[in-house]
Amino acid sequence: MSKNTLALCRQAPYGNALAREGLEAILAAAAMDQAPAVLFLGDGVFQLAGQKPEAIAEKNLRRNIQALPMFDVETLHVCKSSLLQRGIMPEALQVPGADIELVEDCGSFIRKFDHVLSF
């Protein structure tokens, strides 16, 4: 039976491995034709901002983000108040091939799903 799943991403990109491992889990599910919806909330919104991780010898997480639309995750949902709180302009978020959709009421958004995987 197909379930409606949301991946909730709340980690900033490089301080915690769960940011990367969350995206890997999303891509793995998508590769099995079970692409979840994705919501970036809290520090998770920093995953969508500009990065230059070569400075700390890390792989660029943006590559995983940019792979999402290729695996049928074409809409990236982003918590609007998390952006504003962090002084990020929504226009600054660009992911080729993906639509960025701001979510104002995350509570109503989350409850539409059968499962939420938190990362």
């Binding site: 995350c106 989350i110 059968d114 939420v116 938190s118």
Partner: protein, 93 residues
């Protein structure tokens, strides 16, 4: 209706405030592990929109007295709450 599970102290993490602002009418919140520090009488009300439960064993372990607006529950009741709500969201950072 969503069941929110929070496991970090409100003094060290945004888990509880992120949860509270993502809480819809009729949801419920369970405080476990270090989040039980948010279950005491002196902690400000978390949200008007959802009942708040606290895992009794974690509170007891930390010497926490649960405030009157929060209901203490055991693991069995926690499982029941999980069966009564969907989806289940964990806030652990």
């Amino acid at each position: 209706m969503t069941l929110h599970i929070v496991s970090k102290s409100p003094y060290s993490s945004s888990a509880l405030t992120d949860c509270a602002s993502s809480c819809a009418e009729g949801d419920a919140i369970v405080l476990i592990e270090d989040a039980v520090y948010g279950a005491v009488e002196t902690y400000p009300e978390i949200t008007e929109r959802a009942p708040v439960y606290c895992l009794q064993s974690d509170a007891e372990a930390r010497g926490i007295v649960i405030g009157k607006n929060v209901e203490g529950i055991d693991e069995t009741r926690w499982v029941t709450l999980c069966t009564e709500h969907n989806p289940i969201v964990s806030w652990f950072k």
